[in-house]
């Protein structure tokens, strides 16, 4: 594969060599990621304009996967920062390794250690943002589920995303040698601040249509027949329209298709195989109760 070559830091050339969203889309397909044209355009613009890309959408539509594929495509390492409630700068930026610093002072015994020695890279624990800032051509940053973090952290990110600099009081201000590729994802459990949306290239990811989902299922799960994939894709579409707490994502659809295929091989009955393996797709007791009366009609519709 031609992308593997670029691991030595020529990622910039690779970005430059992508001429159009269509070309980018082709490469995504070659890496077994089927996105829509909107995603290809957004990714293309994010790379060309050097802006962070904000992907929003329901859980399980492939936001994180898109970032992983982008990393593979550019031949760069993916550095992932998972956001959670209460995340703060020391988890995202850097921290000093106090224990090592103290040990170093004791080791020196009678000499007075100079400050420059103690606050050197050796004692700096680089967290994701700093890691990417130092090697923007070799790494891409994924800030996952920004909507889980607090408002304060969002404001803090804003600063980082506009200047790509980090200031460390003991060392000074570090800035990226080139614009790093950054992908942010959000499940939209709360609305992000407008300022953050403005800074980013934005793409709203919706669930794929039945046909593309069937193709994704066949790509991801070997041994699933085309007819099965299509039935699962249609059934999953029906399930999502039911306003469930946890509508099945693409990963669930893939698992459901493989589970049903396995059961069918041992028993040889189609609708029953789908029904018995529903637990793979629906993982919430309340949803199961809500779904039970309608499952048969959804399956019948999907099979027809």
């Amino acid at each position: 594969m031609n992308t593997a070559r670029t691991a030595d830091g020529s990622g910039e050339d690779l970005v430059a060599s992508i001429a159009s969203p269509e070309a980018l889309d082709e490469r995504l397909v070659s890496l077994a990621y089927l996105g829509d044209e909107g995603l290809a355009t957004a990714l293309f613009l994010a790379l060309k304009l050097g802006k962070p890309l904000l992907l929003e959408g329901a859980a399980g539509v492939g936001k994180t996967e898109a970032a992983k594929v982008l990393a593979a495509l550019l031949g760069r390492d993916l550095v992932r920062l998972q956001c959670y409630e209460g995340i703060d700068a020391s988890h995202a930026l850097y921290e000093w390794n106090y224990q090592r610093q103290l040990l170093a002072i004791r080791g020196l015994a009678h000499e007075t250690p100079s400050e420059a020695d103690l606050y050197s890279d050796k004692y700096l624990i680089a967290r994701p943002l700093l890691q990417v800032l130092r090697a923007p051509t070799r790494k891409i940053l994924l800030i996952d589920e920004v909507d889980r973090a607090d408002d304060e952290f969002e404001a803090f990110l804003l600063e980082f995303l506009s200047d790509f600099t980090i200031s460390i009081p003991e060392i000074g201000t570090l800035s990226a040698s080139s614009r790093p590729v950054i992908v942010l994802t959000s499940n939209r459990t709360r609305e992000l601040h407008d300022a953050l949306r403005r800074r980013c290239i934005f793409h709203w990811m919706s669930y794929p249509d039945a046909e593309r989902e069937a193709r994704i299922i066949m790509l991801r799960a070997a041994g699933v027949a085309e007819a099965t994939a299509l039935v699962v894709a249609r059934a999953v579409l029906g399930l999502r329209s039911l306003q469930l707490t946890k509508p099945p994502g693409i990963a669930e659809a893939v698992e459901w298709a493989s589970a049903a295929t396995l059961l069918e091989q041992s028993e040889g009955q189609w609708p029953a195989a789908f029904k018995r393996s529903i637990g793979v797709a629906i993982k919430n007791e309340e949803d199961m109760v809500r779904l039970a009366p309608e499952l048969d009609s959804i399956l019948a519709q999907a099979c027809s």
Binding site: S20, P21, E37, G38, T41, A42, F44, L45, A46, K48, L49, K51, L54, E56, E85, G86, Y98, Q99, L102, I105, R188, R190, E191, D194, R197, R198, R199, C200, I201, F202, H203, W204, S206, Q243, L244, T245, E286, D287, V289, R290
Partner: protein
């Protein structure tokens, strides 16, 4: 690069093609999309990179750079096409009307009108299913805006289960020790944790039957305000059926949110079946878990045809689930009002509050006082009897 300084030129000096792209921004703003200058620059740069190959590519670029809210993507697409097909520049307002006439469902006008006439003649709380689409007007309401900013500070809370760092509370041993190691054990600086308050969920139930007609719009505006000032809110319309309009109201622009809500709900100003609708709500486990520990705000006159047993049972269950069940009825504006209808009398023991829902001012000030728990409604109204 040239693409960066495009925006700094005077508008008239721009080449005509670019001028048209720039003019898209004010056009979109006129229709309630917030387009920042920064985003416009991104859009122009996108045109440079995509070499403006096709309208379709530019539309996708517009979506990516101008970031329209997801629930208005289709509207954005329509506006985009309208703008570049050339019709829009002549009359932006006409374009707006055109857009909304496209958005409205093709209801059979004569049937709707007929039903409407019947409804006006008949009793208010009838069971006639009216499929009328209601024209909504929105006006800027300073009272609501003030309420929103006050509400953010005074909305009901509960103690969260997870603790977070704070200035006082219980000692955070892990963090304190970490701090201690930083100074090699010399300086002991205690850190604390405390359970942080969480805002309670709010469920707004709006009765949209014919008898509540004059209030529904005001209630929708209130629901919209609450939705945008509270982390977790669910808004349901109760008519002849139960409709969730939460996602529709999520749109920040009040005007178009109300318009879309009025298109979405099919049974405006029809009859009421509050009881069955509430029972339907309680069958849906999603809503049941939402209601647990929440504030339930019922905006209805409580006029239910037929036997009230279904309604009373549902209300009793709802009251057991939620933290506080507030019933606001416009009828209570009358000082002579007493909850004497059979349904109301049976429900009264279950209600936390039964308040006046006719005057916005009193309803809003009541909501701001929600944190204080007062006497249950039954006690308050028993006192009022004497």
């Amino acid at each position: 690069m040239s693409k960066q300084c495009i925006a700094s030129h005077a508008f008239t000096e721009l080449p005509p093609g670019v001028r048209q792209l720039v003019a898209l921004a004010p056009f979109l703003r006129q229709h309630g999309f917030a387009v920042a200058p920064e985003q416009l620059i991104n859009f122009l740069s996108a045109a440079y990179w995509l070499e403006a190959r096709s309208m379709e590519a530019m539309r996708l670029a517009g979506r990516a750079t101008l970031a329209p809210p997801p629930e208005r993507l289709l509207e954005f697409d329509r506006l985009f096409r309208l703008f570049f097909s050339g019709k829009a520049s002549a009359s932006a307002t006409r374009a707006h009307d055109e857009l909304h006439s496209v958005a409205e469902p093709q209801a059979d006008d004569s049937v709707a009108a007929g039903l409407k006439a019947r409804e006006l003649k008949g009793t208010a709380a009838s069971n006639a299913e009216l499929l009328a689409v209601r024209p909504m007007e929105a006006r800027v309401d300073s009272q609501l805006r003030q309420f929103a900013s006050a509400w953010v500070r005074r909305r009901p809370e509960r103690k969260g289960f997870r603790s977070r760092r704070s200035k006082a509370g219980t000692i955070d041993l892990r963090n304190s020790l970490r701090q201690l190691s930083r100074y090699d054990g010399d300086v002991l600086e205690l850190r604390f944790r405390r359970r942080q308050p969480r805002t309670r969920r709010v469920l707004v139930l709006i009765d949209i039957s014919g008898s509540m007609k004059q209030y529904t719009e005001e209630y929708l505006r209130l629901a919209h305000t609450l939705l945008h000032a509270t982390p977790r809110v669910e808004v349901l319309c109760i008519g002849t059926r139960l409709t969730s309009i939460t996602d529709t109201l999520r749109e920040r622009d009040l005007d178009s949110a109300l318009k879309r809500a009025s298109d979405q709900v099919a049974d405006w100003d029809g009859g009421t079946r509050i009881g069955p609708a509430l029972a339907e709500l309680l069958e849906n486990m999603r809503y049941v878990s939402f209601v647990r520990g929440a504030v339930v705000l019922m905006l209805s006159d409580g006029l239910e045809p037929g036997t009230p047993s279904v309604l009373v049972d549902a209300v009793a269950r709802l009251a057991r689930l939620c933290w506080r069940l507030v019933w606001a009825t416009p009828l209570a504006a009358d000082p002579q009002y007493r909850p004497y209808t059979p349904a109301m009398r049976a429900m009264l023991p279950h209600l936390s509050d039964l308040v006046d829902g006719a005057s916005q001012r009193s309803l809003l000030s009541f909501l701001l006082g929600l944190r204080r728990t007062g006497e249950p409604a039954a006690v308050v109204w028993a006192a009022a009897k004497q």
